[in-house]
Amino acid sequence: MSSPSGAAAHDSHDSHAHEHPSYVAHHFDTAQQQFDAAKLGMWVFIATEILMFGGLFVAYGLMKAKEPEVFIAGHHYLNKVMGAANTIVLLFSSLTAALAVRSSQLGKRNETSAWLVITIFCACIFLVVKYFEYSHKIEEGLLPGRYFGHPFFDMSAAPGFHEALPSRANMFFGLYFLMTGLHGLHVVIGMAILGWVLMRNMRGDFSPEYFTAVEIGALYWHLVDLVWIYLFPLLYLIG
């Protein structure tokens, strides 16, 4: 089935071997092949992330179907304005990430850096807003699970700040913290990835021929945005 004796002189691989650019790893034949592989890999990774978050959405959906009033009562304690503001921040950062890729494709290095910086900055804003939301909840004792009603996780303090909430509201806040916490973790990881891309961009690693890392980093960032696009309405806007 093969020709191990090497009769095929213009084997697609050997014919260009001498001009293999430095950014193409030894096991790839062409830059396009490497780029496609990286992208395919990222998409598969995105699928795994979707299924992971999806598990939480499934738990959310089933619990909501079972006890809708708990979710409706709970969501009144979330701050719609902050949530919407964060949504706009993340959408904007997604735009800037896409523009960073575009600049990189065109070989505009400084512009790429600028867009990346803006993206990372938006991520910071997002986290700051989240910080205010979280600290507000924690102060009020809107805590997950069994800590619910106990301010600052202090189990010895008297519970019961929210008698108006149904008794299972602790579960809503459990899910809220788990989902937004996991998402927040992804924001932090995304910042690290984009920071690394930024560093490499400033070092001059990328060119219109090779911008794989920018593209991959941006794809990751869009995923973070995608998850939030669902989190926001499901947590803040129900009922």
């Binding site: 395919l40 598990g55 009922g239």
Partner: protein, 147 residues
């Protein structure tokens, strides 16, 4: 080997590059949808609120995936992967819901009716009325028992 084989390899990749304004346009659409969905949430449509929210979110997600994430000009297979992820999630939630929504319905005489009959909550349960399958009561009321 692949679709790109027609290019003689020159060490380059050939992406589709959209104009910057186009991306801004998508962003505008996304913001518009966000504002809409927040506005709609102030109107009470009952259970439909969630459905509307999810639908709008899906439109937004499709916009992001198709244009920001370049699926529009990418290998079709990448789109298939994304769809597969959602399909399997759908299977997961759908079949599980099939369980949680129909427990103890084959036979009214089954355990879940205890609460309805006697108000007794099962041992080791959270003292909350919703624990005992609420639909069993409605179901009984609506159909007067069935087989």
């Amino acid at each position: 080997m692949n679709a790109h084989a027609e290019h003689p390899d020159d060490g380059k990749v050939r992406p589709h590059i959209a104009p910057a304004l186009f991306y801004w346009g998508i962003f505008g659409a996304l913001i518009f949808l966000t504002v809409t969905t927040v506005a709609v949430s102030y109107v009470d449509f009952g259970a439909a609120n969630t459905v509307i929210a999810v639908l709008v979110a899906t439109v937004k997600a499709v916009l992001v995936a198709t244009f920001f994430m370049h699926l529009a000009h990418d290998s079709l297979f990448n789109s298939i992967i994304l769809c597969m992820a959602f399909v399997f999630l759908g299977v997961f939630v759908g079949l599980t819901y099939e369980d949680t929504s129909t427990r103890n319905q084959l036979d009214d005489a089954n355990g879940a009716m205890i609460y309805v009959r006697t108000g007794e909550i099962a041992p080791a349960a959270f003292p909350h009325k919703m624990i005992v399958a609420p639909h069993a009561a409605e179901h009984k009321a609506a159909e007067g028992g069935h087989h």
